[in-house]
């Protein structure tokens, strides 16, 4: 890159223009980073999913619930390695705005199933031992300032207590993390045994889902079919899908967030394309004699074209990189505000890479026409002015 200083100085020939253009590009990629990350948060459940896990749901609606007696039958199905269950609790912690999912689970089996969740073994022992114990994702505990040993009151709505109250109280005995930081998801887990005993007797024995680990991931489809066949004629038929598929279906209920984000981004990038193209065309126009001089010095047509092209790629690349970096910082700052309802938002490696890719592509598209003009430029004509 011997010509780098040349390209660099050209870029800053008209400082004001370059900076204004750069800021516009930065704004565009800041939006890109933010919107893609928000869309990513909606799709995150899809990514967190393990390939060898199946999700068994009630056939007709996820609000129905399934009898716990299904568990033993599922475990007996050929190809099933282990199975456990969880229940959607609903409920409110202090204020409806503090939304996070809460699940009664079987402690040991749950952490066995979600082997990517990392918890201190001693804390897991406590979780299993103490009836009213609960554990929270580290993110969540941090957000609400919970300490180990704190009592956490949750107001029940779907599940009421048999003693007539609807105040559930849990003791925090541990926190856990997801191995891969990118896919952390705030959740609050407590002991199913306690939950089942305490809830209204008529509602006992009902869970929301079973999670199943299959012995051979390649057999997932067959095992799913076998589980569903097992319950087809019972009064609680099931629908089994890979965890990924189940999460995707749930996310789709909200609507096509990805489509909305991409529509906005298309508008943004169209504008940026036009703006940057305009800047580059202006930059080329006022520099025609200089490009001619370079050609007299022996720079080939192609080389001159490359100089022009690289200039626009550099501008867009820098703008894109700054914009995406800013979106990372902004997400970090806004994270706690947004996490309540979107789960953990972080800018993913895929977003970063695709952002940089789009920025470079933008540079090429924008620079192509000026580069071709520079290439065609006739020295003799250009020097005559």
């Amino acid at each position: 890159m011997k010509s780098f200083p040349l390209i660099w100085s050209n870029l800053f020939r008209r400082r004001v223009r370059t900076f204004l253009t750069l800021f516009s590009i930065v704004a565009a990629f800041l939006l890109f980073g933010l919107l893609r990350s928000i869309a990513g948060a909606f799709e995150m459940g899809v990514n967190v999913a393990g390939v060898d896990r199946l999700m068994v749901s009630p056939k007709y609606s996820m609000v129905d619930g399934l009898p716990i007696s299904h568990l033993a039958q599922i475990e007996a199905v050929e190809g099933v390695d282990t199975a456990t269950h969880m229940t959607w609790f609903g409920g409110t912690y202090q204020n409806p705005i503090n939304f996070f999912p809460k699940f009664p689970v079987q402690p040991r089996f749950y952490f066995d199933m979600y082997s990517e969740y990392i918890i201190d073994p001693l804390q897991l022992d406590e979780f299993e031992r103490i009836r009213t114990a609960a554990v929270a994702s580290a993110e969540l505990a941090e957000e609400f300032g919970w300490q180990i040993g704190d009592r956490i009151p949750i107001e029940g709505d779907i599940w009421l207590r048999g003693d007539g109250s609807n105040l559930w109280e849990f003791e925090l005995v541990g926190t856990y993390r997801v191995g891969d930081e990118d896919t952390d998801f705030p959740s609050f887990l407590f002991n199913y045994e306690y939950f089942d005993e305490a809830r209204v007797p008529e509602t006992q024995g009902i869970v929301s889902n079973f999670m199943v680990r299959v012995s051979d991931p390649d057999q997932a489809a067959e095992v799913s079919a076998r589980i569903d066949a097992q319950f087809e004629n019972s009064i609680n038929p099931t629908r089994t899908a890979t965890e990924e598929e189940a999460n995707r279906q749930f996310a789709a209920q909200v609507g096509d967030i990805g489509l909305i984000m991409n529509s906005i981004l298309s508008a943004v990038f169209f504008t940026i394309l036009l703006l940057t193209a305009n800047t580059m065309t202006q930059a080329l126009r006022e520099r025609i004699p200089e490009l001619a001089v370079l050609k007299t010095l022996g720079f080939t047509d192609r080389r001159v074209a490359f100089l022009v092209l690289l200039e626009s790629v550099l501008l867009c690349g820098i703008g894109g990189a700054i914009g995406i970096a800013l979106s990372g910082i902004a997400l970090q700052a806004l994270g706690p505000e947004l996490e309540g309802f979107l789960g953990q938002i972080e800018i993913s490696a895929a977003t970063t890479l695709s952002g940089v890719g789009i920025a470079l592509l933008l540079g090429v598209i924008v620079g192509l026409n000026p580069a071709l003009s520079a290439r065609r430029l006739q020295v003799v004509e250009a020097l005559r002015k």
Partner: protein, 226 residues
């Protein structure tokens, strides 16, 4: 030994239906080491002739051999590479890149060579020293006088050590005194460094620095004794 050899060279320009015959069957031989002044009224085709010799333009007809290379029919890419090795250009309005320092301007032609950064910088400094501007290496063209800018342009023209310098009215924009300095410099390059120089000028005093003078008139060359 001749370094420039033009045979039956014509250059016509067509604008719409009109054809202007700027150069008409020109023969010209220039010996290596010559310092040739090219004079003639405005619009007589001096720049056109220089552009042909410098490999910037192609003739309508004829043959042009410069520095042992037949230029007619060469691709634009081959011509560019040939120019980088053999020709240094000096223009009336200097044509420096305003955004680059003097040193970076001088260094430009070396970007086309294999030289490393350090070597390029040293060579550029040598060229600047030859033109007497070693102390202005970091200045931008806008911070230099006309004469100094032209010196930088000369340094740029010689930095890659070409055999031929092509100058189009190099003193046309300068006052008498500065012009003389520039002409002295060219003379030095011709005598001490052996550069073949072809210089277009309107100024008989400038022409007197050259070894020979040629007149271009109505598409024809008239040779006069120096």
């Amino acid at each position: 030994m001749s370094i420039v050899e033009l045979q039956q060279v014509s250059r016509h320009f067509t604008k719409g239906k009109q054809t202007v015959e700027v150069l008409d069957n020109i023969d010209l031989t220039i010996e290596e080491g010559d310092f040739l002044a090219l004079m003639g009224p405005s619009g007589s085709g001096k720049t056109t002739l220089l552009n042909l010799i410098g490999g910037l333009d192609q003739p309508t007809a004829g043959s042009i051999e410069v520095a042992g290379q037949q230029l007619v029919g060469l691709s634009s890419r081959k011509l560019a590479q040939w120019r980088a090795r053999n020709i240094g250009f000096i223009f009336q309005f200097y044509n420096l890149l305003p955004i680059l320092s003097a040193r970076r301007n001088v260094e430009l032609p070396l970007l086309l060579t294999r030289l490393g950064g350090g070597q390029r910088k040293r060579n550029a400094d040598v060229a600047l020293t030859i033109v007497g501007l070693a102390d202005r290496a970091r200045h931008k063209p806008g911070e230099l006088s006309g004469g100094q800018q032209q010196r930088v342009a000369i340094a740029r023209a010689i930095v890659a050590d070409p055999r031929i310098l092509v100058c189009d009215e190099p003193t046309g924009d300068l006052d008498r005194e500065t012009a003389d300095e520039i002409l002295d410099l060219l003379e030095l390059l011709n005598r001490k460094h052996g550069k073949t120089i072809i210089m277009v000028t309107h100024d008989p005093k400038a022409a007197s620095h050259a070894r020979h003078t040629l007149y271009l008139d109505k598409g024809n060359l008239v040779r006069e004794a120096a």
